[in-house]
Structures are given as C-alpha cells and as structure tokens.
Symmetry: C2
C-alpha cells in the first residue's frame, strides 16, 4: 500500500506529478514545480498554502487555520495534507502569492532517477564475494595426550592448517595469555577468529564452542559533522542496524581547520580523540541494542573519514595537514586494536581506517571511489563530495585525478547570516514566484523556520537568479515591486521569511554578503572541476557521469545547483547521487578483502592535484564568480531557463501594464 504511487494534477497550472501514496501535498507541488505560497516551512502555522481538492482522497491534519466548513468544501492546507489517491488539486489565487512545508528529513526530494538503486550498485561493481577480513573457524581439536603433546597454540595452528588450510597464523599475544584455561573449559571445541591484515594472518580471538553463526562487523563513516555507522551480519552481508549522530568534536570547532588548531595545543589531540571515540561508542551501543546482539559478536571495524578525522580518531598528529605543503602524518594506516584508541568493544576487535590520498582527499573519498565503482568503468566519471571542502575526483578504471578546493563553510550554513546546519527548522527547499517574488519554503522536520541550510541556500540563489531578484554578479535588484527586497546597511537583502512566520521572531533574510560567500564557494568547486578536466585536456562535455556524494548531495536539487553554476550543465540524466559514499565504501571493505584491497589500490593509484598555489586554478575561479558563469554558453539549459523566465516576466509586466492602463 505504502509503495503505491499516486498521480496528482495541479490546476490551473495543469501539471502532473507522480508521488508516493502518503506524500505531503506541498512537496508534491514542489516536485511538480507548482508554486504555493508557504512561509512557515510546513509547520501549518501560517495557513497560506490553502488548496482545493477537486477529486480524490486525502488525509488532513486538523488545523485551526482551516475551519471544518472549509474542509467540507474541499479546502486543505497543502502542508498538512497527505495524498491517498490520484488527485486533482486547484491552487487558489491567494495561495499563489504566499508561503509553506516538512518531514524528519528522512525522505529527500531527489531529481527523478537521481538516487542510485541497489541494482545500479551491483552493475557498477565487479562481482565480489562475501569474504570479510576477519573470519571465524570452528575447530574441534583432538585432546592432547602423552603421545600428542603439542602446545595449545600449536594445536590451534595445526587445526587451522588442517581444517581451513591456513598456514603461518600468528596467535595474538593476549589470546596466548588466555588460552589454556579457556580451551580446556570448552573441551577443545572452539572458534578462532582470524584477521587477514594483508601482511599476515593473525588469530585475534578464541571463543568456546561454535560461534561462527554470530559474527558482525561495523562500518563507520567518520564525518566532520556527522558520524554514521552500520552493523553488518557477516554471515549474510546484510545491514542489521544503522545509527548516526553528530560528531561530538563539533563542540570544539565546526570544520577540520579549527579541530586541527585545537588538536595541536596541549592535550587537545587526546581530547578530540576521546570525544570522537565517545560518539562512536554510543553509536555502537545503539547498533548492538537495535540488533539484539552481543558486543563480542563484532569481529572488526572499518572506518572511512577525511584525512583529518582519520588522524584525530587514530591519535595521529594533524598539525602539518594545515601548513603548506599540507602533509599528513600518514595516508595508509595499519590494522590497530580498537582498544588502542580507547574503543573497548570486546577482546581482539581490530579496526581498519581506509587509506587517504592527501591532506584534503581522505579515506571518505577513497571509500566513495570504491563504492561508486569508478575503478571498474570505462566511463569518464566525475565524483564530487561537497562540504566545507569540495573534494572531487575525475577518472575511470585507468586513472583517477583528485583535488580539493576550500569551498568554505557557506554550503554548510557558515558565513551566511541566517545559515544553519540541516537540522529541524532549517529551510531546505525554496521556490520564488517569478511574478510576485513570494517564496515557497520547506523546512527540515516541518517546523517553523529558524534559518537556511546549504540545499536551501542553493535553491534560494537559483530562484533569486532566475526570477531576477539578483543579477549575474549576485547583486540584488532593489527596484523590484516587493517589500521582500530592501536595502540595509552593508548591502541589500531579500526577506525569505517574515518575523511573524519565523521561529526566531525575526526576519530570515539572504544578504548580498551571503550571496557573495556562496558565489565564492560555488566558484571554487566549479574551478576545481575545470582544472581536473583541463589537466587531462578534457572539457565538461566529455563527462559521462557526475556522481554526487555526501549528506549535502542528498538534499541537493541538481537543476538548482546547475543554475547557479555549482555543477556543470551536462544534462541532468548524467548526474546521480551516490548517497553516503564513505559509509558505502567502508561497508564494502568490511565485507570483502578484495574490496578492501581495491580501496588500498585506489588510494595508491589516485593522483592528487594541489590547487592552493595553482595559477590556472585562480583563473578558473575568477571566471566562475558569476551566476552561472562568465561563459553563459557553457550553461545552455540555464540560458534557456533564463530566457523562459524573462519571457514570462515580460508578458506578466505587459499584462499588468494592460490592466493598469
């Protein structure tokens, strides 16, 4: 039932959209590119998104802004109404110049076909087997006797050789220390967990009886802001629990640079390490509780993080990551005992951190390269992960070229007056009416708006640019006939939410300074893309596929990102969202030695281009300090859209002059 799709027809626009049954009507309208005034972010408090249900079944939340009489006549608040069948909906005139909507950010609104499906993944990766780096072997050993008096350790090694063909297994020292009583209490019926570290086979744990049916691994994406973890049953390869939380290091700085500065002072590194270990421990606790397993079922952990996060987690000095020429302590990391970093899951649990390429292209990107199968395709692929840094990789099975450009914190809401992270109350989607310049907004968690997150900013910029609220230089047109555009000290601004509709009781605005910061950020990313291409004597037209990774990409509306010139205009069908590539790569590496080795190969193979002192990069950057770009011809779809908007606006102006005249 829940999977059924419903077709919604919006009138008078006469536009169709297909949405999942149960979808909020306001989001359906946004998908259909139909404007409904909505200024309270979908919280139901402004009552402006009033629509008329002409045909079909809906579920209405009772709301004081809508009387029972109105409801009886077919009215509904779009943000408080769920689609239960095919619908025909009319947007009344008053709702078309107003405000609005939604969710716990669980269901994004990707461009159609934007999200890769499980089938897509399978196609992208070579066939790989469930063959994790730790394996359990159940052994029933012959009891020792005067005639067969091999030591306990040698007996186990012999068992592993005979039963599993494993030679030269090194028995971990703590295992040796526990051996004799344990092995006798279990009457010589034991399960040995063997880690293949790449260099050697190591017996890391010995348990009583047959525990081979109980084996799980943990894959973790250690992000600067968010840490996501999965519990994977190694018998089936299935994810049995998921959890994520903010990286508690956030309290010590929002971005990697402030964390590094904190780390290199006094005991800062130890503090940051213990804090991130604390976050990970809580996630593991949650995974274990969700899945109802024992901690000792876990046999290994694979993490992927950017270079700084990996250093901080492992307690490696990150100081020189931020000093020219930007050198990390290490880019490849040995398997270490979890207990060595204070993560006490169970005895003999080892952790592998996926390798990094350089100070600003880390294990998260390597993991993404693995997960997205770029190493396995002939297609020229561009992989982008946008956050404070825009990390990007261009390549295919034969070569990979990476770079990182400091996009600044704008896309994460930093350096923007009302910017915020994508938490409840953050405006994540924005539409602006091309005639009246009234916005339609959706917030995370369907709350009254507090501020604007990255995807909301891109939406807003794109809409402001197309509707002409700002020009190609990012300057606000203060001559527009709307009170939302106004001059203030320090520059003009556009009011996205009036104080009365905001949770903060203050106007939520986008200023020219904000726009300038965002322009720099998008220009840095775009210049990065261009420099990768030009290094290979290529151009954007040769890109077969553009993959976007990371939480930011999840809520990104591709057409909006292209409109502002953040992404190249290569046709939306070529752009896909890979989701959390870092977690996916850690997941694959936790399941397959072959995939883990592949990740190592990728890190070895990938070339890194340092942009900070690259003069060509500066040129590309300056050319990109326009919406969408100084070379508008490189953005044909944007050019077309702009012309369409201007044409509609000219007609509307003519109509208005006609009416008035």
């Amino acid at each position: 039932m829940a999977d059924e799709n419903c077709r919604v027809l919006f009138l008078p626009d006469n536009r169709f959209v297909t949405v999942a049954r149960g979808e909020i009507l306001l989001r359906a309208a946004m998908d259909a590119d139909v404007h409904i005034n909505a200024s309270c972010g979908g919280s139901g408090s402004c009552g402006k998104c009033r629509v008329l249900i002409e045909e079909g079944e809906v579920e209405r939340e009772p709301n004081p802004k809508l009387s029972e009489a109105e409801a009886a006549r077919g009215y509904a608040l779009a943000c408080q109404t769920r689609v239960l069948s095919d619908l025909k909906v009319t947007i009344p005139l008053e709702s078309r110049i107003g405000d609005k909507r939604i969710f716990e950010r669980a269901e994004p609104t990707p461009a159609h076909g934007y999200l890769l499906s499980a089938a897509d993944w399978e196609e992208r990766l070579p066939a790989w087997e469930l063959d994790p780096p730790t394996r359990k072997y159940h052994l029933v050993l012959p009891q020792p006797s005067l005639d067969d008096n091999a030591s306990d350790a040698e007996r186990i090694k012999r068992g592993l050789a005979v039963e599993a063909g494993l030679r030269d297994v090194v028995i971990d020292y703590p295992v040796l220390q526990r051996l004799p009583n344990m092995i006798r209490q279990s009457d010589w019926d034991i399960t040995v967990t063997v880690l293949d570290s790449g260099e050697e086979l190591r017996a890391v744990r010995i348990e009583q009886g047959d525990t081979t049916e109980r084996q799980s691994a943990i894959a973790i994406d250690v992000g600067t802001t968010t840490i996501s973890a999965e519990l994977i049953d190694l018998r089936t390869g299935e994810v049995t629990a998921r959890a994520s939380d903010y990286n508690a290091q956030v309290a010590f700085g929002e971005d990697v640079i402030t964390r590094i500065i904190y780390a290199i002072r006094g005991t800062g590194l130890a503090k940051l390490q213990s804090v991130v270990v604390g976050t990970i421990w809580n996630l593991i606790k949650s995974l274990v509780e969700q899945a109802g397993i024992e901690y000792c079922n876990i046999t290994h952990v694979v993490i992927a993080g950017n270079t700084t996060m990996t250093h901080l987690l492992l307690g490696l000095n990150p100081k020189y990551i931020r000093e020219e020429p930007y050198i990390p302590s290490a880019t490849f990391f040995p398997w270490i005992k979890c207990s060595d970093i204070g993560l006490r899951i169970a005895a003999g649990v080892y952790l592998y951190a996926l390798p990094c390429v350089a100070s600003y292209v880390g294990g998260d990107i390597v993991a993404g390269m693995l997960a997205s199968g770029i190493f396995n395709t002939d297609k020229l692929t561009l992989y982008i992960d946008i956050g404070t840094n825009g990390e990007m990789v261009l390549g295919n099975r034969d070569w990979m070229l990476s770079c990182s450009c400091s996009a600044g914190p704008a896309f994460e809401g930093g350096g923007v007056k009302h910017g915020m992270r994508a938490t409840n109350g953050a405006i994540e989607q924005v539409r602006i009416d091309k005639i009246g310049y009234e916005p339609m907004i959706i917030t995370v968690g369907n709350r009254k708006p507090i501020g604007i997150c990255g995807s909301g900013l891109i939406d807003a910029l794109s809409e402001m640019f197309l509707t002409g609220v700002i020009n190609e230089k990012g300057k606000i047109n203060t001559d527009l006939p709307t009170p939302r555009v106004r001059r203030r000290e320090g520059g003009a601004e556009y009011v996205l939410v009036w104080a009365e509709d905001s949770a903060t009781r203050r106007d939520i605005v986008i200023t020219e300074v904000d726009i300038d910061n965002l322009m720099r950020a998008k220009a840095a990313v775009y210049a990065g893309i261009e420099i990768l291409l030009s290094s290979m004597d290529m151009d954007v037209s040769m890109i077969d596929e553009l993959l976007i990774a990371g939480a930011f990409g999840r809520y990104l509306e591709v057409d909006k990102a292209v409109t502002i010139g953040l992404l190249p205009d290569i046709g939306y069908e070529k752009i896909k969202f890979v989701g959390n590539g870092s977690l996916l790569g850690a997941h694959l590496s936790a399941l397959s030695r072959e995939m883990l080795n592949k990740a190592n190969e990728i890190a070895h193979q990938m070339t890194y281009l340092e942009l900070s002192m690259n003069p060509a990069f500066m040129e590309h950057y300056i050319s990109a300090l326009f919406f969408p770009h100084t070379d508008l011809n490189a953005f044909p779809s944007v050019k077309e859209k702009l012309e369409a908007y201007r044409s509609v606006q000219r007609m509307a102006a003519r109509d208005k002059v006609g009416e008035e005249g």
Copy 2:
C-alpha cells in the same frame, strides 16, 4: 705476566702439574691429584694444609696458623699461597691427613680440553652473517613540497624502498603517532629501525639524525635460578657488557614446579612476571651502565629460557605444564613489545623468546642446540643440561630426539642434608684419601665451609665410592678405621668437615639418605640417555660427542660424573662443556636472522619423548640405581680405577699389618 704458566712438582708423590701463575697452591695440588688435608675450604683457618716450598717463588698471605719462623724455613699454607714461578713442593706427612682452599668461582677447574674455545664454536656453526632481526637505516628524505606531498609515513616507506630495497614496511602505530614533529625537527634526516618479525617488516622506531652507529641488542638466558644477560654491539657483533644475577623468583620457590603452583593462584602469575622483569631490568641497567650507552641504543632483545620461565616472563598461564599430559600454552612466541611485559627499555624495543619444544624441553635447550652446532654436524651428539630436570637431546644434522627426566633437586643441593647452591662457602671439590679416608675440600669463594653444592656432591660420591667409604649400592662401610664414618639414627654418614672447621660450627656430613637421593637423580639422567639411544636402536659406544651445558656443567669434573654413573663412560676426550648454551643461542639469534630462523627450525624439527609413563624408562632407571651401574662392564674406566684403588688399599693394609705385626 698473569698468563704465564708455572710448573709445580709435588713431592713425595713426584707429580707435575702446570698451572697459571698466581694460582693457589691448594688448587694446583688438586689438579695434580695430590692429597693435602684441607678442611676449612681454603679459608686459612684450620692451618692443616702446611707444605714446604723447596724451590721457587710464592706469595704467602700472612696467617696466624703459620709463624714467621716457619715461613722463613720455607713452610706455607697451600690455601694461602700463590704460585709465582716453577715450584718444587713437599707435602709433609701431617698435611696428608688433614684439610684446604679458593677463588670467587671465576676460574673453574675443567678437565683438560673440556671447555670449548671460540675456534671450536666457529667450526661447529655454518658461516653466518651479522644480520640482526632489527636494522637501522639512515635516510635523508627529500622535503615535501606542493608537488611532492606524500604523507610522512609514505615518504619514509619510499625512502626505505629506494635506499634499502625494503618493500611493504608496516609503520608501527606508536611511531605513526610521533612522526610529524620529530621528522621535521630533524630536518628530514632520520634513522629508521626496522624489525623483521619473520611475517612482516615493521618500522619500530624513528630517530633524529644518523644513529646507525649506535645499535645494540640484548641476549638473555632466563634461568630458573640465574639470569644472565649480554649487551651486544650490533655494528661489530661484539659483547660489550655482561651481567648476571639470581632470578628474583627464587623467593617464590626453588624449582619450576613450585613457581607454577604459585603462578596459578590468584595474581601469582602477574607477581612472578613482574619479579623476573625486575631482575632483567636491573641486569639491563647494569649492562647499559657498564658499556656507557643509552637505553635507546637497544633495538631488540632475545631471550632463551625453559618453557616455564618463558611462560612466566611472557605472562602465559603455565598451569598445564605440570599436569599430565604436560601441555604448555605455547611453544612458539610472537615478537612482542618489551613494554607489553612491563620492561620499559625505550620506545619500540621488541622481544623474541626462542621457541620451546615441550613443557620440559624449552627455549634454553633449543638455544643450546643452535649454539653447539649440532644441527650442522654429522657426528652423533648427546647434549645434556643438568639441573632439577635433566634435559637431553640426541642427534645430528638429520634428526634430534629430546627428553627430560626429573632429576630432582639433589644436584642443586636440594634433598641433601647439607646441600646448598654453589654460593660462597659451598664445598665444590672433594678428594678423599684412599688410605686414611681424610678429605681435601675446596669451597666457593675460599670461605669456611657451610655446605656442599652439586659438583661437590658428585666429587664426594665419586671419592667415597672409589675409596670404599660406600659400596655400589650407596651404603656406607661403617667398619672403616676412621671416626669420619659413623652410625646415626636413620642411617650411617660420613663427616666431610668437623664442626671446628665449619662456618656453621656443626659437622658437615653426607648421609645414606643423601646418597640415595643423589643415586636416584643420577639414575634418572642416565636412564634418559639410555632411552634416547635405545629409541634409535643405538648404544653409548656410538656417541661421537657429549656436550654438557649449563652452570652445573661448568664446575663438573667429568671423570667424577662418569665414576658415579651419571655420564656414560665413553672416553673423556669426547666430553665437552659448552658453557651457557642458552645464552649463546640467544646471542646468536640476536645477531643473525638466519640463526634465529634456524632456532625456529630446530624447535620444529626436534622430537620430544615423554618419559613419565614410559615403562622402558623405568627399567633403565632401576638398572642405574647402582654405582656406577648394575652393568659395571659398561663403565670400563671406572672398573679399572676401582681395581687400582683396591690394589693400593690392599697393599696399604698389608703394609700396615706388616708394621703392626
């Protein structure tokens, strides 16, 4: 001067002996098999060892037992007199039925040719190179730049690959943690210590500048009673300092069994571990101070110990070593960090414990096999290390068969009424006059006698047997015309030292119970030898060489050991003393990867024969409960000696009867 030899002629025996200049005259007499009454152990307190210096130069200690007038006439106390030139010495009649002498047990009195020389060693071992398991590599790395931005760790790995051809070096996690500051402070001029663990190459330490000239290893023999250590300069392979001390675990029990019992109770294992680590730490401190090096010059440690000592040092549970079927936790041990056992020498110092073969054939024996080159000879060799356990190995380059027989503590002075360890005041050499049954004794440290140590007991038994004080069953002949033989409750006894001459002011005696215990001990060893031979369908006549190892062997007089039937009667020229085989093997393994691998191969190759339930062993054992053996024909030299003694005694008796008659 000190190395000059002097020839001493003893009259009236008319016997020559060649001794080093400076030798004590009493020991020269013992070497010459000339009897002088000496009952105070060489302390100069009894004054019975009076001799007349007829010709030549001596150095006399002034002594109240010798007046200046006597000295002027040429008299001297043999135990207080040093040989300074060739001498002619007459033993006055009164001194021939009395007491006597010596050193700090530094110079033993080996049978001539008994000690192996350095040249012997070289001949026994295959050519091996100075190629220790840790090596230092001095690297001057190219400084990183924007164009060459490999991580610190990768830069080091690249340096090792380029400069030393080392591939796939794993950088130890603690090294990674210290890298970036250290490497920059040293301006990229560093020395990397790489450990070859057999399974992988591991960078275990990084130092500033070129420290390749400063590299030492430590080899340690961890004995149940004594721990001996050497500091070896790895640039030259030379031993630069030596130290040894009692194993502080002695306070928790004399032998391995009592240690095991202590270890398996409560925190006993941790206690014993920390105690032995404490002893080792003190030795290392002494080595470092003697050689004037820094702790951080030390790059690895190799230890050899019996299986129990190795378990206790590594904190492995020894419980099942003493329970049938006698299974150790492990016989092969991984390289571990010294700090893992609480031995904090310097960062990144690893320790290797040489492998064991079984619960009662340990790393000390494997080390001895290595050092004595048995794995490299065609000669059928028997290797024996006698202590509480008699461990022995029979073999050559093609095969090695080992066993261990519980000799009991008798050879270490345990279970013997006046038995003691070979410390100051212990009687270590004994002669008994075949006519008057008066003893001539030498104590360790030239002190008044306190008791008798193992080598003294063997001497005493041998002398008592040859002179007829005891018969072949170990029973004392109480009919002899000497007050030294007497009956007491519980059996007869022989008085070795009268109360007036002993440090304890009590008679020091050897009882029939003592003799019985010693007989059982020697029978166990001999039965072990026979069972090894018979397992291979061999007999003692086929032994090409008999090697004796261990501190006990150092002071053993081979002919005496053969006389009582402890060692087979195969000709003294075939019997050699290898010294501390355990320490020598650890030493070789610390210097050469090839030798270390060879030790591992030896442990793998060696077969272990468990005697405890072997019925053939019991038969051999019972046959050996005689002096020298029920089959006297198996001991032709003893038979001959016995006949010579009896003949002298018969003549003396006849003379006496003649005189009296």
